[in-house]
């Protein structure tokens, strides 16, 4: 398909934007890993290494009025959707000023009122919540929006995934369900998770459209996600995207991923999408080495500033904490403790 000059310029801008989110996400993840090793983070640290292209490709195609339910490996998509780095850092460091105010941590963050849904840990559970937001928007007469829910291939084994995808199909909601098949669910390989030839084969059984994408291929990834999101936005109902990649880290930073065979790491699947993206941008003259260096140092400064700031910020104070899970003020007066 031929592109006009302005179209191809727009594509180039999107690619540059996506790359910058990938880079910022990678550096942010590296920082969290370092803080983890230094004992500065409580609980787990979960990285998106290898998944940045896919995740950024989602985020760059979303508008502020869209809905996004990222998962544990979506730092890049979160940034692309507009999450400020300080939100991520505050959540990991438990700052009282973060969006979760120390009540929840690490990847469990979001701002529901902004269409940015904070995951609960139970895999698959967020998809129907995205459906609900989309359903409500439709009831309110809002159209032209989409909702993206992210899952790993392991999460496709949950009942919640199935119920929600089917529900979206029945309601013909503008849901884009992105499955990152990164070959492992924690240590479990795909042959212990499903037996179909390709997870994209599931789409027909729900009556939804499907898209397969090699998520190590930077430009293809951006293009395909763009297409899937556009289909949903145009009213063609739910879109199932199945992306293939390899997790280039442990499940969490506590895990050395010794169970991933070297052959797999050395296969095309094991390519680092960030490197692929850099090569692509260089080749297409969308950035040069100097530009990369600037972006990198800008990102590092932004991250370091955020960390320094969050570390100075107050931790949540148990004595000021209200210790109630209820929104209704009048019911709080009745609450008892013992």
């Amino acid at each position: 398909m031929l592109q006009t000059v302005s179209e191809s310029r727009a594509v180039g801008e999107t690619q540059r934007a996506a790359y910058r989110c990938m880079l910022r996400a990678r550096l942010l993840d590296d920082k969290f890993a370092a803080l983890y090793r230094a004992g500065k983070i409580h609980g787990g640290v979960f990285l998106g290494r290898g998944q940045e292209a896919l995740s950024a490709a989602i985020g760059v195609h979303l508008n502020k009025s869209d809905v996004f339910a990222p998962l544990i490996r979506d730092a890049a998509g979160r940034l692309a959707f507009g999450e400020p780095i300080i939100d991520a850092v505050r959540t990991y460091l438990g700052s009282a000023l973060g969006p979760m105010r120390g009540r929840d941590g690490n990847v469990h963050r979001g701002r529901p009122q902004a269409g940015y849904l904070p995951m609960i840990s139970h895999l698959g559970a967020m998809v129907s919540v995205v459906n609900g937001v989309l359903f409500a928007r439709r009831l309110k007469g809002i159209s032209g929006i989409v909702g993206v829910a992210c899952l790993g291939e392991g999460a496709t084994s949950t009942g919640a995934f199935h119920e929600a995808l089917n529900q979206a199909a029945v309601e013909k909601l503008p849901l884009v369900l992105v499955i990152a098949n990164n070959q492992f669910a924690y240590s479990t390989p795909t042959n212990r998770q499903f037996a179909c030839a390709d997870l994209a084969d599931r789409a027909a059984g729900y009556g939804v459209e499907s898209h397969s994408v090699d998520a190590t291929e930077f430009s293809v990834c951006i293009e395909k996600l763009g297409a899937a999101i556009a289909r949903a936005r145009a009213g063609h109902g739910p879109q199932l995207v199945v992306a293939t990649l390899l997790r280039l880290c442990g499940h969490g930073e506590h895990d050395d991923a010794g169970y991933i065979a070297p052959e797999m790491k050395n296969s095309p699947l094991g390519r680092d999408c960030l490197k692929v993206a850099e090569e692509f941008l260089l080749k297409k003259n969308l950035a040069d080495a100097a530009q990369f260096a600037v972006w990198r140092s800008e990102a590092i400064r932004e991250i370091e500033d955020a960390v320094a700031q969050a570390q100075r910020e107050p931790a949540p104070d148990p004595y000021e904490e209200k210790w109630s899970a209820l929104a209704s003020e009048k019911l709080n007066e009745l609450r008892e403790e013992h």
Partner: protein, 321 residues
């Protein structure tokens, strides 16, 4: 004209749909069919585009409701039977119940649970899961015992900013009748003295309130004056009203249709003894169902749960202490 408990539930939903454009109803067969118990009869016709049949996907039903609540709507979800909420358990306790606390965004959903035993219902159409929901932080659990409360509490449930588990007793659906719908009501979280007395406080909720009142009538013939407290809401639980009653009577029996381990009766006894120990002049007692699934056969069923007779017997034992 007389109005049943079931009518009241239908009317409250009609009222909510009429008054509040944010309200919609979602559940299996709730549309043209009007629901398995007809609690949404004609609502789809009266309120086009506001009442939706769902697939048999309880987990996703609650998920969708939470998403809609995030957008500011006020969904009412009907579970076909309370028993089937077990497959929505995760979305209720981990998604809906934690949302406000985690994000400060309220989650005003109402989950209607047709619950409780009826003869012939058996192990999977009779359950009373109020305890498991009350145990989790972030949920309001309501158990109306009268036609009036079924109406006004459901209206309040929809208005409340928190997720509400609304336990409607299937036996009361057609059994309880009132002359008219109420125009005022006690606030959520307040218990009600369903019958006054000074010899013994019987705390009950949902269908057991009726049985407790009948037992009180039976005991009145023997000269005892039994006070019956209708909890109305099991979470929050109105300890003050219970303790004030025990202060008058000195004696306490807590009655529940649920299983004996944990649950409402344990919570009631435990609160009263912690906070009002000195008021008691006899050991407080509980009466619950037996610790087995709910039996199908009417003979077993009647013996499994508290009855007017067993409540009266338990009361007599305390009174003679």
């Amino acid at each position: 004209m007389s109005i049943t408990y079931l009518d009241a539930i239908r009317e409250a939903q009609a009222h909510a749909l009429r008054d509040d454009p944010r309200v919609f109803i979602y559940g299996q067969d709730v549309g043209a069919f009007g629901g398995a118990f007809k609690a949404t009869k004609n609502l789809q016709k009266e309120f086009p585009g506001r009442v939706f049949d769902s697939p048999i996907s309880e987990d996703a039903m609650i998920g969708l409701a939470v998403g809609a609540a995030i957008e500011g709507l006020r969904p009412i979800v009907e579970m076909q039977f309370a028993d089937f909420s077990s497959v929505a358990f995760n979305q209720i306790v981990n998604q809906a119940a934690t949302l406000f606390w985690r994000t400060q965004v309220p989650c005003p959903i109402t989950v209607r649970l047709p619950f409780g035993g009826t003869s012939g219902g058996g192990p999977f159409h009779s359950q009373t899961p109020e305890t498991i929901y009350a145990h989790y932080p972030g949920l309001i659990v309501l158990t109306p015992a009268t036609v009036e409360d079924a109406y006004s509490m459901l209206l309040e449930a929809v208005a409340i900013d928190d997720p509400v588990i609304f336990c409607e007793h299937k036996f009361l659906y057609r059994h309880l009748k009132a002359e008219k719908l109420p125009t005022e009501a006690l606030p959520i979280g307040k218990a009600r003295i369903a019958r006054e007395g000074r010899d013994l406080t019987v705390v009950a909720y949902s269908a057991m309130v009726q049985d407790a009142k009948e037992a009180a009538t039976e005991l009145a013939a023997e000269g005892w004056e039994i006070e019956v407290v209708d909890l109305r809401s099991v979470k929050p639980l109105d300890t003050d009203t219970i303790i004030a009653s025990v202060a008058r009577t000195g004696k306490l029996l807590a009655v529940g249709e649920a299983w004996p381990w944990g649950g409402v009766t344990a919570e009631v006894i435990s609160r009263v003894t912690s906070e009002g120990f000195g008021l008691l002049d006899a050991p407080p007692q509980r009466l619950n169902a037996k610790d087995t699934p709910v039996p199908y056969h009417p003979n077993l069923w009647a013996a499994h749960r508290p009855t007017v007779r067993s409540i009266a017997a338990a009361a007599r034992k305390i009174l003679r202490h």
